[in-house]
Amino acid sequence: MSDVKRGAGRFMSERIKPKKARATLRRLLGQFKPHAPALVAVVFLSAVSSLAALTAPWLIGRTIDSLVTPLAAAPLLLLAGLVAVYVADALVSWFQARIMTTLSQTLVRDFRQRLFTTMTRLPLSFFDTRSQGDLMSRMSNDIDSVAVAIAQSGAQMLGSVLAVGGALLCMLLLSPVLTLAALITVPLIFLLTSVVSRQTRRYFKEQQVALGALNTQLEESINGFLEIKAFEREALVLGEFDRLNLRLRQLGFKAQLWAGLVMPLMNVISNVGFALLAGVGGYLVLNNELTIGLIASFIGYSRQFGRPLNEIANTWSQFQAAIAGAERVFEVLDETPEPADAAGAAVLKEPRGQIAFENVSFGYNPGNPVLKDIQLEVPPGATVALVGPTGSGKTTLVNLLLRFYDPTEGRILLDGRDLRHWQRASLRQGFGVVLQDTWLKEGSVSDNIRYGRPGASDAEVEEVARTVNADGFIRHLPQGYNTVLHGNGNTLSQGQRQLLAIARAALADAPLLVLDEATSNIDTRTEFHVQEAMLALRKGRTCFIIAHRLSTIRQADTIILIDQGRILECGTHEALLAENGRYAALYRASSLS
């Protein structure tokens, strides 16, 4: 199940329009509350900077006029004013950018930490139903786009709006007629951008679909590389690839073509505005209705007008991406965490290890039970082995024991008390767990073993490694116990990784033990050597073993055969053989006689 999902979700990170834009925006703004002073400073500074930017063209125009009609104003004074304005503008925008950067990075860091902390408290079902790629992209891409929006769009948008409004006001004050000439092209800008962006959106959406199809094929081909080779399907796969690749190229071309129109169009329109400004302005000056310096001021203003419009269009799409990203992050933050411990839940301390399943039923999805009416009594210190075909519900049973999930019906008792009435943390600490899919973390070999019990000394780590027969191979590693493992310990063989996981559980020294296919990847010869250690590990502990190899579980006190969520047979190895049912048949098939 997870395979399929993972692939599908991975590349099709759909960046469609946010669903609840307004609510999300309000919530995102709420994040700024603690940083209100900084935010006020940013707003103030960008207002100052916009004001400075508005003064400059006016000063330039006045300076030029002062040359045309001397003594109109002192030109040197005007120039000094201009220098002051430029210096102030530079300083203010630098401060503003610094504050904004710090603010956005702090917010993003806190946002990331909150997302992570929330995830550590979410129930396992959350992770079981989502692809890793999807969650990864929420943590990196989505939060990044929020960061970009905060740092750039926020400040820029504000500055742009002020600049546009201010420039418009100044122009109107200086000459309404020339303003009309300079801005007659603006409605054209809006018209064209709306047409272009509609087309762009359409083709981008189609391109996204084509990309998804191609990526799906690529993923399948790379995962199924061996099959392609073995069945000599290279030509067919390449043919399919070429078809999808061509389609992506064609649609991508259209999307790109339309998207690429925006900039040149804006440029053309601003050039046309420039020409109209020159023509009409020249005419007005000739009729003595304007000074020549005003034309200079107007050129400055119309540039200020055109550029922020461009930026607003640009930042708008960034903004949309940010809102969509924030929405996806909030979605995770809103997930219900694992329920708090029930009132009066007790701390589990040195449990005896008596476990009882009372009419336990469970399904991951309603209406699709995986376990049905399980009844089971396990005395303290007993070893229970679970046998059954893949998908019969063995691992689900373990999930319930560790309270990764709670039964939908019935209850599980530990030392006579419902699991739900033990504090969850203490309950889990009571279990030593070795899972089929061994997970190692980045760090040294001894760090990994010590993960089971952080306080353990080096001597204890090595002692445990010796008892589970891991000491030998560890000493052969380049730096022995200090060898650093990268990328889930890929440099080790499957068997070696499982040995480390067993050592980790052994060191944890928990009173209850769960071994879910713990030795499935250890070859049978090595396993033979591990068996002894496992036996020692199991001594005095209540232990649940899931194993494929019947030899591994022969000595269990109780063997339980599960199929389709029900217990079919239950008893010791000898008893079940005598019963001559399914177990006996399975056993005969796997043995040599």
């Binding site: 599908a8 430029y86 925008s93 702090t106 990864m136 590389f225 980045e442 250890i522």
Partner: protein, 579 residues
């Protein structure tokens, strides 16, 4: 080939060199179009200067109107250039990306089965998807903005000098200063943003580790430790990022201030010459305009850094795959030209093998001969070389010592350990084995593989969709479909690489019986974990640390082979003598 993740110091130009011959000319044409577009932009202020100084100052309306018309015309021509370079830029960047993707995929498909591809398919996928998109975006941007900015700057400087050589002397001071600042910024910025990328990777590693280990972390109640680890990574990232961005915040205001002070200087110089009696306001206005154009162009250039850093890293990751050695044609193998669908033999003669990039031999001096029609079991511990032996027998890998004689690839069918089904129906997946198989053949293969029963159990039967968006199959069901797919091929040599591990023992025994009764009696090589799986084979081959330890019947081996007896003991708890 060794795949490294991240930012290796492979020089990016190798990708450029590879594709320049193909896309060089259209790329150049596009850049020329960009240059022409920029030329139209920089012509405007010069015409404006003439309009003001000759038209307005001399009171000639006709000149004002014709010059304004010229400005409109130039704007229109510029638009044409802009539209055509947009067309070419889109076309080239998309074609180039499609071409790189195709070359990369062909390279991947054509090369020998690779340990890296099997171990780390994600890394290859990233290259095929994200990295190519990065390069495509960069190319597209290059032909739009990155080239336009410097061209615009150069054009503006040129036109300004033509307009007023005296004022242009100012540019000789300002432009080198600004370029100096930019060069310094790009140099430092590169390093800073690389640090950011490193910390980002680090954060992703920590997070991915959490996601893969969430069960263990929850079981061990170590969530708060992970929170601390993550907080540290997120803190480091924020710190490095802030440092990099702070550095960048200085550049914009600094460059703007320099150019703006230049504008003040221009006005002051204009003032001087006006006092001397030579006053041309149009010149001044145009010159100020050129300064602004130069400023904008230079500012655009600073934005390149980020894209460049990313595109370079992506390009080097792509090149790494493209530059990996291709498949050599070995003369150490002989493909027997047998008749199709007839049992075929397999012979290894003193074969040694190591994985490309590996350090030690995983197969050492192995010789054996399997007769046509034989049923051979292979056992050995993990790391003993079983899988490598299978890869060699299939012809996926080639020995570096000794020789192999095997049937042609089309007469071999292999059932791998890890099964992959492809999006489609059960039928379409099985047809991989034999594209023209009829229903009877399909049913027969499914029957022998123990898959017929569950296929018939699906509401849609043979048309049941599997893979993406299809039904969820259990591991055992997938393995049985994979086996049926191989059987349809009617191979002369059938290789089963521990391929029934998820099938329960009863079904497995039934499958073994069915295999022995296959029409055409193919040679069967069965790699297994369980001794029970190979006990009834004609002969069993025992591997240990890449060496062939023994080859004989189950009975013979359980008497004479110590390692074999060890395996039996571990699986049954019985002494082999008692069997």
């Amino acid at each position: 080939m060794k795949l490294k993740d991240g930012h290796t110091e492979v020089k990016a130009p190798s990708l450029t060199r590879r594709y320049w011959p193909v896309f060089g000319w259209p790329f150049t044409l596009t850049v020329v179009l960009v240059a022409l577009e920029a030329a139209c932009d920089v012509l405007q202020p010069t015409i404006l200067a003439r309009l003001l100084d000759e038209g307005v100052r001399q009171g000639r309306l006709d000149l004002v109107l014709t010059d304004a018309a010229w400005m409109l015309l130039v704007a229109g021509i510029g638009a044409l250039f802009a539209l055509s370079r947009n067309y070419f830029a889109s076309h080239i960047s998309l074609s180039c990306a499609a071409r790189i993707r195709s070359d990369l995929f062909r390279k991947i498909v054509s090369r020998p089965v690779d340990k890296a591809a099997l171990d780390d398919p994600d890394s290859l996928l990233t290259r095929l998807t994200n990295d190519i998109t990065q390069v495509q975006n960069f190319l597209n941007g290059a032909m739009r903005i990155f080239f336009k900015a410097p061209l615009l700057a150069v054009g503006a400087i040129l036109m300004a000098s033509l307009l007023d050589p005296g004022l242009a002397a100012l540019l000789l001071v300002i432009v080198p200063l600004v370029l100096g600042i930019l060069a310094f910024t790009i140099g430092r910025g590169f390093g800073l943003f690389r640090h950011v990328q490193e910390q980002m990777d680090r954060l992703n590693t920590v997070f991915r580790e959490f996601l893969t280990g969430v069960r263990v972390i929850k079981a061990l109640e170590r969530g708060s430790d992970e929170e601390q680890r993550f907080a540290k990574a997120a803190g480091n990232l924020a710190e490095v990022n802030t440092r990099a961005l702070w550095f960048m915040t200085r550049v914009g205001p600094m460059v703007a201030l320099l150019v703006n002070l230049g504008i003040v200087a221009v006005l002051w110089l204009g003032l001087q010459s006006a006092e001397a009696g030579d006053f041309r306001p149009g010149h001044l206005i145009a010159f100020v305009n050129y300064m602004t154009q130069i400023l904008f162009a230079l500012m655009m250039a600073t934005n390149i850094i980020n894209s460049l850093v990313r595109a370079r890293a992506s390009a080097s990751r792509i090149s790494e795959v493209l530059n990996a050695p291709g498949q050599e044609n070995p003369d150490t193998e002989r493909e027997e030209t047998d008749l199709p669908h007839q049992a075929a033999g397999l012979e290894f003669h003193r074969v040694s093998f190591r994985w490309p990039g590996g350090t030690g031999d995983v197969i050492r001096d192995v010789s054996f001969r399997i007769e046509a029609g034989e049923f051979i079991g292979i056992v050995g511990s993990t790391g003993s070389g079983k899988s490598s032996l299978v890869q060699l027998a299939c012809g996926f890998q080639h020995p570096h010592g000794g020789s192999i004689s095997r049937p042609a690839r089309s007469h071999i069918a292999v059932v791998p350990q890890r099964v992959n089904l492809f999006s489609g129906t059960i039928r379409s997946n099985l047809l991989w084995g034999h594209p023209n198989a009829d229903q009877a053949q399909l049913e027969q293969a499914a029957e022998a593989a123990g898959a017929k029963e569950f296929i018939d159990g699906f509401p849609d039967g043979w048309e049941t969709r599997v893979g993406r968006g299809g039904v969820t199959l259990s591991g055992g069901q997938k393995q049985r479909l994979s086996l049926a797919r191989a059987l349809l091929r009617q191979p002369g040599l059938l290789i089963l690489d521990d391929s029934t591990s998820a099938v329960d023992s009863l079904t497995e025994a039934a499958i073994r019986t069915a295999l022995r009764a296959l029409p055409g009696k193919p040679t069967i090589v069965l790699v297994a974990q369980r001794i029970a799986s190979v006990a009834q084979a004609d002969r069993v081959l025992v591997l240990d640390e890449g060496r062939l330890i023994d080859l004989g019947t189950h009975r013979e081996l359980s008497v004479r082979c110590e390692i074999y007896r060890d395996i039996i003991r571990s699986q049954t708890g019985w002494e082999a003598d008692h069997v």
